[in-house]
Amino acid sequence: MSDQDTSRRRFLQAAGSATAAVALAGCSGGGDSTPTDEATETSGGGMETTSEPEETTERPEPDTRDGFLQRANRHTHEQAPWVFLHRQYSVYGQSSDIEWQPRTDERVSAYAIEPATDAGDDVVMTQSQMDSGLDPQDHRETPTDNIVLQAYEGLLERDREGAIVETLATDYQRLDETTVQFTVRDNVSFHSGDSLTPEDVAYSINRIVKSDVGIESPQVDQLLGVEGAEVASSDDRTVNVNLSGLNPIVFASFATYCDVMNKSWVESNDQAYINQNMEGTGPFVLSNYEQGVEVAFQRNNDYWDEPAAISTFTINSASESSTRVNRLLSGETDIAVNVPPQEVSRVENSEDASISAVPSTRVIFNAMRYDVEPFDSPTFRQAVNYAVDLDSIIENVLQTFGSATGQPTLEGFFGHNEDLDPYPQDLDRAEQLVEESGYAGAEIELVTPIGRYLKDVEIAQAVASQVDEIPNVSATARQVEFSTLVSQVTTGNIEDKPPWYLLGWGNATFDAIQTIQPLLASDGALTSYKNDELDRLLDEAQSLPSESN
């Protein structure tokens, strides 16, 4: 198993062209078709979507992990457990004082910001909300990520294109089926001056995955399959990580998650202190923390790599998007996170600010429960997909900041199947499929959260009214508070979920499994679907090494 996979790198780099700032002219944002030398599926000329669920066994059995994941995506496209909607974009407003390119994974690293003018040396960013505490292992949401990643680092990280690069590890490899080894970088010090040791690394991993070490980390599922870590040898600075199985995406997980903390600092302070102070190895040092108001950083001049290009980085928040844009336009902030479509023109028309947009890792979809009428019919589920006019939703509701999808896995992700196009709108076909399904006259209701995802309510209303146009189906949309929906979809019991609901799913590991497994596998934490063939494909995929490591 090679620890560096060139084909995956090329794959992601090519996809990285999608991450170039998107012009407002309505570029779909999809990358170029990616030249892969992995065994892709031999699709029978298949650009056209099949009307009946095809027996997938007609195709030769895949022999790589990538192949199985692509097959799994084909299965979901054909069986349509979702109404496939779109890939959400991250849209930022940025001032002309800085040079900065947004990333696909929604993370804003101040290390990547360069001053364009003298004023660009002190950079301010305004998010929609502040952190939920500064402990890097005690949260699970982007606003907090963006704050802690300035000061904390993991063993591996991703570059802007999503390729894995070494950070606090200088090397990583598989030793055997259930063990991987990291070599910890030498001459790295924490902000307090303490040196980074392999003990710190092992402790940081264990603090996440073991409930008897430190806190109950909500990130335990991000390192799923990691059982623990121990120092293999202090002399050659190696740490062994024990896995419960093969875990093909272990390095992909470490490239996104697991910030390294200073063991002695964590053990000698209480949780409230750890949540208000920082002791990392990263390019910025915490200089001021005002809970819920502002986090200020200064450049770490003793950073193990090149020091950052900017002197200070301050993060504050404004929950109202118009307030964030006002700050940007009046020069009070340099980066406004989440500029909604209705505010875009104000930024575009300004002299000193511009819009940077990039496809995010988040897919927006409508789950249809496989176990209730009328959604228990794959034919009916396909009909709903044929009713939706994705292009018009992206054009009119999202002002082109989105790209249509036809499978759970996004373009550029490992396991994405290039042969699958989004469902086209075809009302006649939808009507005919509804007839075939035996559910003519069905009345269905789409449940949507309010304000959780970009334009979620408007999207749900558009979907419902388009589905309602099928002559033999009537559809409505119902809004609920996000926490209400969450409490229904996270019980682990499919009966608690609404029959048809809108959800968004971010996947920062760039691997298909992290979307399909939780949302569509029989034992997925949030699943709305159960199918033996899909489960088999996922099991096969997870029993093979990923080309990425």
Binding site: E216, V220, I274, S317, N326, L329, S330, S483
Partner: protein, 330 residues
């Protein structure tokens, strides 16, 4: 009735109010969908992970046990810890209190400074252009939505003219005090503080300005037709003395009540203004806590607001007694 007894009675009432607030929040916990675990744990967390987090936060206990535990801790002066940040609720809430108090006080100052002269002019020049102007102003003030006014003020004075900052709170009252002796230039700090306070205070104060203008106007008109006014005029007192010493003083009694109670409303109710101006006060904190189901913070905030209400009521009563000695007799 003596002041001691009066204060004791009010103190007991205050404790009752706070206890009521805590109880209501616990009832809300029981009937609100969604759990703090949903905001702490990721969506795809296994049931086992959720269970462990629930245990860690003490959420797996029966509700009455949580309730009694909380009351017991509260008696010892402990408001619990934020589920989200683990920071003590008292710390997190009291950090947000100054910003909200500043905003509430500044909005009240705006209201008083503008409304009392307006009301007086309106009443003394009844049915003249000045009166029509003032009543039109108050009609507009009462019917303009806060968020719209705030956004407009920002667009004009901050984005276009660049006179004030668009939002946020660069410094506060405490920082300004510290700057007198501290290293930062006092004048700069105070100017920055007042500049950031100006637009939100106007936004929040407009409604009350309009309300109190009308109150002063009608109160003054009522008072002017009272018998004692004719008597003082007959005694030959100058008109200005009649108006501003006797009539206005009596007019202000209901105004003080309204102001005092409104101040309480302002502390808890500045939510929209705080959102528009990204003002880091209790209003924003409460919204965040509600969305995150961060109950300890929500309880702490409401306890502080409840206590504030009780204290304000006491102050209003004391002022009442000063303005209208008849109150004590009752």
């Amino acid at each position: 009735m003596g002041y001691g007894r009066f204060l004791l009675k009010r103190g007991v009432q205050g404790v009752g109010v706070v206890w009521g607030v805590v109880t209501v929040v616990f009832v809300l916990r029981f009937i609100t969908p969604g759990s703090p675990i949903d905001t702490v744990a990721p969506l795809d967390a296994s049931q086992e992970t959720r269970q462990r987090i629930a245990e860690e936060l003490g959420l797996n206990q029966p509700l009455y046990v949580q309730y009694l535990d909380y009351l017991w801790e509260l008696l010892q002066g402990n408001m619990g810890y934020s589920y989200i940040s683990s920071i003590p609720a008292s710390v997190q809430v009291f950090q947000k209190l100054p910003a909200t108090l500043e905003l509430a006080v500044a909005a009240s100052v705006v209201a008083v400074v503008i409304s009392i002269p307006l009301g007086v002019i309106s009443a003394t020049r009844r049915h003249e252009p000045a009166d029509y102007a003032a009543t039109t102003f108050s009609l507009l003030g009462i019917s303009t939505p806060n968020f719209w006014l705030g956004i407009m003020l920002v667009l004009v004075f901050a984005v276009e003219l660049n006179v004030f900052p668009t939002s946020g709170r660069a410094y506060g009252f405490m920082e300004s005090l510290a700057a007198i002796t501290g290293p930062e230039p006092f004048f700069t700090v105070v100017t920055a503080w007042l500049a950031s306070l100006f637009l939100p205070a106007i936004t929040l104060g407009t409604y009350f300005t309009a309300l109190i203008t009308r109150l002063v106007r009608s109160g003054m008109l009522d008072e002017l037709s009272e018998g004692y006014v004719r008597a003082t005029r007959a005694k030959g007192l100058p008109e200005s003395l009649v108006r501003y010493k006797h009539v206005l003083r009596n007019t202000l009694v209901p105004v003080v009540t309204v102001l005092g109670l409104q101040l309480g409303t302002l502390i808890g109710g500045a939510v929209i203004t705080e959102a528009v101006f990204a003002w880091p006060g209790l209003g924003s904190e409460i919204i965040r806590a509600i969305n995150a189901r961060d109950w300890p913070i929500l309880q702490g905030s409401l306890i502080v607001i409840g206590t504030g209400f009780v204290l304000l009521n006491i102050v209003v009563d004391a002022l009442y007694a000063y303005l209208d000695p008849r109150v004590i007799a009752e």
